[in-house]
Symmetry: C3
Subunit: 158 residues, 3 copies
């Protein structure tokens, strides 16, 4: 039986998403089963700019959609973001160190069989439609997430 | 034997408390044992406005008591709070989606048998008295929290 | 077999580091094995002012090194820091309550056999050299962290 890692991705920040996806990719390399459950701000990581649409959205949902990051490279840093300067610095340092970018780790996770789930309730509250997210995502309830998590060897809330 | 979920509620933010309490309520619906241990800013969630009192508090403890949120609906968002505008927007969106508010999830958790514990050391540092918190709360040491957590199937630091 | 606690210390904030180190010390008192894996901002906790050096660092790495906290007592609060006023208040309250400071909990953890590991990839990205960190630290990959975590009874992402 393979070991199982379960990550609840709550935060919508570049550095935390990077940490989560590095762990997810590394775990897949070790043949560990990985499920990532994206809720609240974490959903921003799975959005893509071209797919954002505002059909049927309320005023607040449209405003919210415009104000929140669309996709991995738009996420801010959790610390020292300084309106983007800190993040630009971090990106330069990652490039100097030949480290892949967040979007590369996301692509890796998609190719390597990380299971992507999005939180049904969060999507309803934030007015996010499944079509606005990357196609691998399956919508899941909090109960399904807990069933998965309670059977896992390791659970992280990031 | 029922499964067991253990949550350390460290953060004092509306959205994180919402996530924690949705998980706690959902787990109770699945007959999972749930303990929530409130430490540091997480204690703000259990305060109630009417019960705050400053008897025997030092200058710093009084100041701190005034400056920190008193009860669930006073908590700010972790992101995009914008002095309350982002939170007002989130609340409107929750209402549009007919989602209950944080205080409803807290009431639900209290009725559904979630066990509430507060961190003894945090209360001492922050000068918070047991009488200022909701009545279900039991005061617990870090050791008691760890004993509970090490025997649980799933632990989250939120 | 002793129980095992595994903490991923991602955040570089005074209050979160305090929570993590209180848990680590308490767990050691209970004869629980404790490993702490420091990544990203968490590395700031293990730096020491005297040891910071900029030999061989790139421009961004030097700038980053100057702008980030050097050692436990320089860390800001995660909430209500108010350019340091909130933290000063918290420190006063801890002193009034005769609670040890963060640096005391760190010393305790070093004496009590908490295992300290630092994230190899984070160090490369942030340009931090092993010599800039406390001597107990061993450099570890994400894979080694996951192996440890998957075998632990309790894992926390802080």
């Amino acid at each position: 039986m393979p070991k199982k890692l379960n990550i609840l991705m709550f935060s919508g920040e570049y550095d935390k998403a990077l940490a989560a996806l590095i762990l997810a990719n590394t775990a897949r390399d070790m043949d560990v089963d990985v499920t990532m459950f994206f809720a609240f701000w974490g959903l921003c990581l799975l959005r893509s700019d071209e797919k954002t649409n505002s059909d049927g959205k309320s005023f607040y949902e449209k405003l919210f959609s415009v104000m929140t990051p669309k996709g991995p490279e738009e996420l801010p840093l959790s610390k020292m973001n300084f309106s983007g300067i800190g993040k630009a610095m971090m990106l330069e340092m990652m490039e100097d160190g030949k480290a892949p970018k967040l979007i590369d780790f996301l692509s890796g996770a998609r190719k390597n069989g990380v299971k992507f789930y999005s939180c049904k309730l969060s999507m309803e509250i934030m007015g996010i439609d499944k079509n606005e997210l990357i196609p691998e995502v399956e919508v899941m309830t909090a109960q399904q997430y807990l069933e998965d998590g309670l059977g896992a060897d390791m659970q992280l809330f990031i």
